[in-house]
Amino acid sequence: MDFLDIIKSFSDKDISAFNDFKVKIGADLSVPMILLVAFSFGLFVYLSFKSTKELKNKRKRFLLILFRVLALFAILFMIFQPKLELRETKEIKNKMAVLFDDSESMGLKLESGGNSRFENLKSFLKKNDDFFEKLSDDFDIDYYSFGSSLKPTTLPEFLAKGAPEESKTYIGEAIEGLKTINPKAEYKEVLVLTDGCDNGKIKSLTENMSSDLDKSLFKKYVKSLNVKIHPIAITNEKEKFSDIAINKVMADQFGFIRTPFEIEVLLYASGLGKKSIPITLKNGDNIVKALNIKIEEGKKEYKVKMKFYPQKIGRFVYTVSVPTYSDELIQENNEKSFFVNVIRDKTRVLMVVGTPTWDERFLRRTLKNNPNIDLIPFFILRTSYDYLNVPEKEMSLIPFPTREIFDRELHTFDVVILMNFDYGPFVPTSYLQNIKKYVMNDGGGFVMVGGDRSFNAGRYERTPIVDILPVDLSVGMTPFSFGKFKPVLTEVGNAHPILRVDFDAEKNRAIFDSLPALEGINNVLKLKDDALALMTHPKERNEHGPTPIISISEMGKGRSMAITTDTLWKWNLPYVGEGGSTRLYDNFWHNALKWLVKDPALDLVKLTLQENTFSTEESIKIKLKVLDHKYQPTDKARVKGEVKSDDGKVIKLNFRRSETVGDYESEFVPKRDGNYVIETSAYLKEKYLGKDIHPFIVEESKAELINIEVDHDLLAELATLSETKLLKIEDDDISGSLAIDSKKEVQLLGKVELTFWDSKMNFLIITMFLIIEWFIRRKYGLY
């Protein structure tokens, strides 16, 4: 009979259901009160000793003090009001979730004639059915299968499955999903039986885990799951397969034109033996870079760095690939695409000046003051006709670096300005051919500024340069016309962004009319057929029309501009003298350079997507912004669009107007992986406004099969962070190795409190002790 049974036998209540008890203090005493009681108790004992000092008989004295103390204890009992809490409790099993990997990688047969990981998993479950049965003694177990989603299952149901059903492996998301799918369960332990080929959140957090920050982010994520994860690796030591895979391509989203762009390719190779494998970087069908990598036996992961120089501005999809081998397990993982938006860091301008002039002085000042322009000027300060009586060492002149600028370095410039420059004494005609190729083939920008050494006066009429000018030159014509004039802004010029300083056309024209007069022009034969005259001479004209002062033209892949005067600087300081500002002159040149380099900011048709990489069946929102020739948004444009996939299919897009003027929308849902290109164009009253192209990648469904090797490192890291242990299905003693705390939770079903201090018995005892004490005192003659 234990204490509880004794209590039950004394109690007049029905307390038979209670199986536990607790003793509690009922009085709500403050600390000073407890101290006061303790002091009073001590004082009472001390006074008792003192008052019984006269008694010589020790036995009598002890008896007297004993009854006083007993009475005192009985009083203390009343003060502290002790009570007994009887409790009815029940032990409850902790909840455990067992997650089975049901993803595609589990279905791969990685040994010839052998089992898949999925089959191995089922064999393991059958072999260890007693383990799970025993586990169910201590835990309330729920079974789930997972891949890209989490689904409840039972052991027999899972064992009955023929093959895995999910296309992806999201371990982290599956554990997070437990809280949603069964919010009341509050799982504390989660067994994850997986090959670890994760392609969800955990993979993205761990794949570049080189810095402390990356590690702490992963640690934080695992901690946030708030469960103990027990990974069990579904592996098979007999797994032997051949595969080469582009696991990942690490590349920035932005690159700069003609600036080195470096990517790092993470390559995985298994079972290929020792061989050299070519790795190729392509932009569409064009090979951008190719190199060989030596595959060694026993080494599975390789990092390959590839560097190239983007040659064009725009959005591009590049693809890294390795060859496919006939005995490879998976051939879909041999290439990977990435998106790069190639932009211009700074506009690099080469300015070659035949003689220092005010025109050069103010243009240089404007370009130098623009932080987005990298100006490389070369001035001819002395010609062979100039008198030389000074030793070279007393002069600061340098030889004109003809070869460097017109041959070796020409491709590094975005725009070349020949300003009043007579090429004859300095540049062989073959280098002028280089400038023509640079514009026509490489997309460079070109400007010729007038003066007594430009156009016909510079004898350009029989050089390749005439082919890239917006104007035709004629042999033998009078090179110059003199006199002051105010150039006339043409209709095209008034709407063109190069000469647009005010959005109101009339105000824009009025501003240009207010500019100081220019003086002297280079005569030209005529404007070329496809060229546009932005400003013309008010009087000078021939049978072809007025002499163009500022003219522009598309030239092959590049653009060109001709300014047939050397007094444009009068729009600068002299205009300030007339009450204007230098803003117009600065804007003119900055806009001209933007137009020459095809800056996207000046495009009339602009295409945007919400991302650059999508997954199959994902709805891609396509937005198009259209401006008219006056650079105003227009909802009257006729918009065409189509999506081209890399297998040659073309799908037409239907654009609809959005609520915002000038905005058009469409959407596209890709059905398969691959690289796609959206091409759009817009017309206004059958007049072509422009086009825009946006490539994108659809790739996500390949993720599961990119790296099929069991990721022991990932699973081990998960176990370490959960303070558990990574197990493998080959391990003999799974149950002994699992670091599971099987301590059950105690649930309180009911309770009842029994108090004793307020019973009649207690008062009776106190009274009895005090009477006995009084009686003894009297008997021994003490008062």
Binding site: T355, E360, L381, E394, L397, D452, G577
Partner: protein, 251 residues
């Protein structure tokens, strides 16, 4: 005799063509770079009538710059002031203070790309002109004061390389200036550079250069060319491509 006559006429015609071809076939015949001499009240704004013409001749013959032989005399109030980005101000004596409007206009001119080259023609320390210039500069740039232009400045390498500042007299071994950002819109010489150029069209000089004689005059002409070249090319000679050559030649 007739043949000799014909030969002489042909020679004269050829000579005329040779002398004038630099301008006749130039678009810039009307757009040559013209230096403006600043007219001001009090003192003598033009101590040497010929100095700029002579210097222009040297600039044209030694460099690719096409500089007009004749200067333009201009006052601050002139509406065409801003058509002349290089303003030459010379004098030997104290001059009348500029009006507030003139100071404001001159500051606007300098802030937007104009250059003021000041030349003290007195050949003396602390001349009346020098005092007037210091007062003018203080009003133009209350937040700044004239500072020595250091020897690494582009003025000293814009065409010729320099170690010392010459002139008709060696009053100061420095040029002075006001720097705004990386440009120097106000340049001040105390050594009477104009005095070193003054002369006739036949190679005669109006003044001796002391103490260095003709070498000092040659160096003065070079500095004049450099100042004009600096106003046209600013810091071009400080661009990276020129530095190795200049360092090598300065060894």
């Amino acid at each position: 005799m007739e043949r000799r006559k014909l030969l002489v006429i042909t020679l004269i015609v050829c000579l005329c063509i040779t002398l004038t071809c630099g301008t006749v076939f130039s678009l810039t015949a009307k757009n040559e770079i013209v230096i403006a001499q600043l007219k001001y009240k009090g003192g003598d704004y033009e101590p040497y009538k010929s100095s700029l013409n002579v210097l222009s001749g040297y600039v044209v013959s030694r460099t690719s710059v096409i500089l007009a032989r004749d200067k333009k005399r201009i006052a601050i109030q002139d509406k065409d002031l801003f058509l002349y980005p290089l303003l030459y101000m010379a004098g030997a004596y104290e001059f009348k203070p500029f009006s507030d409007g003139d100071v404001k206009k001159l500051r606007k001119y300098l802030d937007h790309g104009g250059t003021l080259f000041i030349d003290d023609s007195s050949g003396q320390q602390n001349s009346g002109f020098d005092r007037g210039i210091k007062r003018l500069v203080k009003r133009l740039y209350p937040e700044k004061s004239l500072e020595k232009i250091d020897e690494e400045h582009a003025i000293f390498r814009s065409f010729y390389l320099f170690k010392r500042v010459p002139g008709r007299k060696l009053i100061s071994p420095f040029l002075f200036g006001i720097n705004t950002g990386d440009i120097t819109p106000v340049i001040y010489s105390k050594n009477d550079l104009g005095g070193a150029y003054a002369g006739d069209n036949f190679g005669g000089w109006d003044n001796d250069c002391t103490p260095g004689g003709e070498r000092q005059r040659e160096m003065s002409i070079r500095l004049g060319i450099n100042i004009i070249m600096y106003t046209l090319t600013v810091n071009y000679k400080k661009d990276q491509v020129h530095i190795p050559f200049i360092l090598q030649r300065r060894k």
